[in-house]
Amino acid sequence: MRRDGKMTFLDRFRAMRETQFGAFVPVLLALGAIWGYFGLALPAYDVLTGEAESFRAIFLSPRNIYNLFMQSAVIATLAVGITIVLLLGEIDLSGAATAGVCAALLGVLVLVGVPGWAACIIVMGVGILMGAFQGLLVAYVGIPSFVVTLAGLLGYQGLMQKILPTGNLNVGDPFVRGIARVLIPDMWGLVLAGVVVVLFALASLRKQAQRRMKGLELDSPLVLWGQVAAFGVIVVAVVLTLNAYRSLPLLLVLLIAITALLGWVVTSTPYGRSLFAVGGNPESARRVGMKTQRIRVSGFAIVGLMAAIGGIFGASRFGSVSYTAFAGGSLLLEAIGAAVIGGTSLFGGRGSVWNAILGALVIGSLGNGLDLTGASAADKLMVSGAILLLAVAIDALSRTNTGGR
């Protein structure tokens, strides 16, 4: 495959990123490094210097991990949506503002007496419309998505302030609050994890058997079982950790389920294939008869939907809707950062929604860890910026065309 026999480190790195699970490696390493630093290195340093009397891994305590997951959930929801437009080679700067408008609308709707479930469905529809509107401007009017969504960011921020003149609204609706408050009982959480792992293993084995039957190249058993084992360990470990503090929250189950559905659509349907094709080479997609404009609009509609869901999750977790928590805060850049840190390319055509969740965990862990160590807001901003820069540098280097040589 290679033009010459020699493989530089960069080549190996690229080759690894091409494999199905290799794409997770950089972001997992980053996550491991951050957790190791805040969870083990810092407490150990404190013990050695005599600042703390005993080794206390506050960061890695089940309680903190639980909070970390919940804090990262809203970022992750938005990042999963933004991944879709990044795959198309576009960008969406208005995601957080859309989430803000949707959350504000949700708050107002339940305040005037609309049932919680109906209000959720309405704001999801509104989110889709807000996204699709921007998509229409990008695809049919031909305005660059950066400009359209920058305008959207400003406009939707204003719209949110119009809906919430006071800038703050409590949400007490039991249905909305329940999304974040309901916990899956410990036992059922483990059963759910077990079922998911067994299904994953069966699907892998079945695929391998079919490949053998059709005489196609096989994955090595080591890789196959390694994937199943890694997946199983991570899922069970997460559930056990969450059970050790409270239990598996419904919010996380919903987030994983939505991501799984979207991930399946992106990797395993003709529609998902068309997202990659349009992002990789729009001319090629057009020539094989794909309706590239409609695909772009649909991508923005999906971001709108995910932003609305993020708004619902946020309203549910905070029990209130505030301007600073969504449109006016750092949510937007954290969400885009999460998608990019996860390994989704800003140049289009490469990425995965699962990586966005890991990227959100990286961002969430940084913020959480720095908070625990008492770092200032200034430190947090600078460290986040450095991590984002590193992630984009890795993205640029792992592209064959722009990489060194």
Binding site: M1, P270, Y271, G279, S284, G349
Partner: protein
Amino acid sequence: MASKTKLEGQNTAPPAHLAVRGIHKRFGGVHALRDVDFEVARGEVMALVGDNGAGKSTLMKVLAGAYGADEGAFFMDDKPVTLSSPNDASGLGIQIVYQDLALCENLDVAANLSLGDEPVKAGWRFLPRLLRPLDALEMEVKAREAIDKLQVRTLQSVRAKVEGLSGGQRQAIAIARAVGTESTVVMLDEPTAALGVAQTRQVLEVVKRLRETNHAVVYISHNMRDIFEVADRITVLRHGGNVATYTTADTTPDAIVVAMTRGLDDEGAGNAA
């Protein structure tokens, strides 16, 4: 003499599969194609040559349906057909491999070969076709078949991303994609222009395979050595008109170059005969 050459060519030529007669194409004031005739038979490689601006690319795009002709008639196996859009062309089994190949480098070989026409699993009828599960294995099987048919030996895996492949392999994959869709006419635009010697050889082998599989191949090139290696006949255009059609065995590269640059005798622009 021009008409004589043409006549000889047609007498010995196999029956045309795709033929066009009297094509005119104007872009504003520019008369890009003037009364052009062109034909290609199955199991034949027809080279299309001409100097820059002679109308090769315009003619090819007309044949591919990308440009509508202002005047002219199209025939498939002697039956008149209409051809005014790329969909018409692919419906008639005419496929084109553009110079830029238009492959998605971020996708693997199998995905590129079935792009836009991905096989989906049976069942799932309640979903729109775009959202039905892909049959990834079927996709690989098809890709394997297409690659084997063209005997692209250097390609190890259909799961390799296109960005990791050589220029010749990419060209072969673009050709395989064009051939894969039940096409009978394959047009290649300068397939060897950017390739080295070994890569060029690989692509020429693929072109020969297309002839063996009874495709009608239109081969546009500037490279006389390549043309004389693969082409059965050569159509020369100049200033948007026909000069003549030669049988490769009966002519020489020098004669073709003269026809491209000076036309035949004193007959200047186009084939008035």
